[in-house]
């Protein structure tokens, strides 16, 4: 397609792509830069796009903050559990709705679609009482369980396309070769739809890692069970924020997600392409 675009236009397009990339990346650059700036420099009225004396002070303050490391581990535990659990559950459910015909199949699909639209945040109040009744307030479980539920409908809907793309003949062949249904499921189908699982896991990871409302509402007395977004707010007091601390904590919080994204980048693009082709 590129060959069809005339050269000056392409150069203009490339120049604007680079400028836009710089603008989009600028907030992240400023975040990392500010994390390394010494305290006085961030709040000086001359905001410079570089720093004269890079320092780890802000990071020391962040990690010196009681339990920051613990919040980090908590966030990882929540996000990883949500990703793995919802991937497995969604894989089974997506297989059921694509490879079997049964009563209520269409009804279920429509219900999964509607479930996607449920505003999670609107359910904070009943979930609060539910978690309280099951003694889950102030535990990581109160953050993990709802996020599994909320990422499931989208994951099932997205994985459908991937399961559908695996030819029926493959299952026939496996069956003729004497493979049991569960063997086919886990040793043949699962690896084949793995790229789709990676793409869906991006969404469940983000929703769990970003969670702010549930952590704020369900972790109320035992702060050792809290997660990174809450740790960040230790440094962000609207009246007088510790910007160095906020930016250092933000950097620490963003980097794992960035690494995850870069790792799955190719899979994500092809995964979204695969899901939409369906």
């Amino acid at each position: 397609m590129n060959s069809l675009v005339r050269r000056p236009w392409r150069l203009a397009a490339e120049a604007s792509a680079l400028v836009i990339a710089a603008v989009v990346a600028f907030p992240l650059y400023w975040m990392v830069l500010s994390a390394f700036k010494p305290a006085g420099e961030i709040e000086s009225s001359e905001a410079r796009p570089w720093t004269l004396a890079p320092t780890l002070d802000s990071f020391r303050r962040v990690f010196g903050q009681q339990e920051f490391g613990r919040y980090f581990v908590n966030s990882l535990v929540v996000a990883c559990t949500v990703v793995i659990a919802s991937a497995l559950i969604a894989f089974l459910a997506a297989t059921a709705v694509t490879r079997f015909r049964f009563r209520f199949r269409t009804t279920l699909l429509i219900m999964f679609l509607i479930a996607q639209m449920v505003p999670v945040e609107a359910l904070t109040i009943p979930l609060f009482f539910l978690m309280r009744d099951f003694g889950q307030l102030n535990t990581l479980g109160s953050l993990i369980l709802p996020h599994i539920a909320f990422s499931l409908p989208f994951a099932i809907w997205m994985l459908r396309g991937f399961v559908k793309a695996v030819p029926e003949a493959l299952e026939e062949a496996a069956h003729l070769d004497g493979a049991s249904r569960s063997r086919f499921l886990w040793q043949i189908l699962f690896p084949l739809v793995f790229p789709g699982l990676v793409a869906t896991s991006v969404f469940s990871f983000i929703s769990a890692w970003n969670d702010f409302l549930f952590a704020k509402s369900f972790i109320i007395s035992d702060t050792s069970q809290s997660t990174l977004p809450m740790a960040l707010l230790v440094f962000y007091k609207p009246e007088e924020p510790d910007w160095g601390g906020v930016m250092a904590a933000s950097t620490v919080m963003t980097i794992p997600v960035l690494i995850f994204f870069v790792l799955v980048q190719r899979r994500l693009v092809s995964g979204l392409g695969g899901a939409v082709k369906d």
């Binding site: 392409r10 397009a13 490339e14 604007s16 680079l18 836009i20 990339a21 989009v24 907030p27 992240l28 400023w30 975040m31 500010s34 709040e43 905001a47 497995l88 559950i89 089974l92 459910a93 059921a96 709705v97 015909r101 049964f102 199949r105 279920l108 429509i110 679609l113 509607i114 639209m117 449920v118 505003p119 999670v120 945040e121 609107a122 359910l123 109040i125 009943p126 979930l127 009482f129 539910l130 539920a149 499931l152 029926e168 249904r181 970003n210 702010f212 962000y236 924020p241 906020v246 933000s250 963003t254 997600v257 960035l258 994204f261 693009v269 092809s270 979204l272 392409g273 939409v276 082709k277």
Partner: protein
């Protein structure tokens, strides 16, 4: 479809069981509870067991709808979400087309920058944008020569600042999805159209747009859902709803009612209103899919 085998009547339900248990317990039941609480009198007294809960009928809704603030917040939510959706889609689609027009290096640069913005957690993005637009030492005011203009002080400029952050972190989903969709269109189709002398605009309108319509529907509906229920950005960037609650949206409003002032029933009634609005949008979406002849 798989040929019927003796045990296959039950197999799909076994596969579905974990999903149905989780969704039933953590989605369907809470929705029922939400509806129930919205019809009760449920404040701190009832929660701690000091007084029995009493049935209020539509009393909570009457109180809510009788409150001018609710309508103001509802209107703000709808307008703000719509502005976010439209801006996100416009930026995302434009950049997706741009990605197809450039060589590998600029494409990689833009893709990585967008993935970075996408990967940034909402709390982080919110604080970083506040720092960027800080009246005293933010780089944006300096670059634009705005002196010490405060973005969070005025109602509209505060909403605008949040909108910028929301577009920044959500256009990448649209861009990557639409780009993946364009790439999935066979190159021969486009080349054939170009050889037949079709203009770029004509190719977009007559070839790409129809093929991309299912994707555009998906990204639109996802954006509507996400932007309608924004909580973190508003909460953090406007410090819980803005000066004199001028930047409240339904979600933050419900949170403030329920958890800050313990009026759980009013908070639940707001939740029900949100649920109903999104349900209507979903039904419209389902109709759209149906009329396009999509097979479920």
């Amino acid at each position: 479809m798989t040929p019927a085998r003796p045990f296959s009547n039950w197999t799909p339900w076994i596969y579905l069981a974990p999903a149905l248990v989780v969704l039933g317990g953590l989605l369907v039941y809470p929705i029922y509870q939400l509806g129930l609480i919205s019809f009760l009198e449920y404040t701190q007294v009832q929660v701690s067991g000091g007084e029995p809960t009493s049935f209020q009928g539509f009393g909570n809704y009457a109180a809510l709808f009788g409150d001018g603030e609710f309508w103001r917040v509802l209107l703000a939510t709808v307008v703000f979400a719509a502005a976010c959706v439209v801006s996100t889609l416009a930026v995302g689609c434009a950049l997706a087309v741009l990605l197809t027009r450039v060589r590998a290096l600029p494409r990689l640069a833009l893709m990585l920058a967008a993935l970075g913005a996408w990967a940034t957690p909402a709390v982080t993005g919110s604080t970083v944008w506040l720092l960027l637009f800080d009246p005293d030492f933010g780089p944006v005011n300096r670059i634009l020569g705005l002196g010490d203009h405060s973005w969070t002080y005025g109602r509209y400029s505060a909403f605008f600042l949040v909108l910028l952050e929301v577009v920044w972190c959500s256009f990448p989903f649209v861009m990557v999805t639409v780009y993946a969709g364009i790439r999935a269109v066979p190159a021969e189709v486009l080349e054939a159209a170009a050889l037949d002398g079709a203009s770029q605009w004509r190719i977009w309108r007559s070839v790409l747009a129809p093929m991309l319509r299912p994707i555009l529907v998906v990204v639109t509906i996802q954006s509507v859902i996400w932007d309608f229920k924004i909580f973190t950005q508003i909460y953090v960037m406007t410090n819980g709803g803005g000066i004199a609650r001028q930047n409240l949206v339904l979600n933050v409003y419900a949170y403030q009612k329920a958890f800050a002032s313990s009026q759980y029933s009013l908070g639940s009634a707001i939740g029900v209103v949100m649920l109903l609005i999104l349900l209507v949008i979903t039904l419209v979406y389902l109709r759209l899919l149906r009329t396009q002849g999509e097979e479920l």
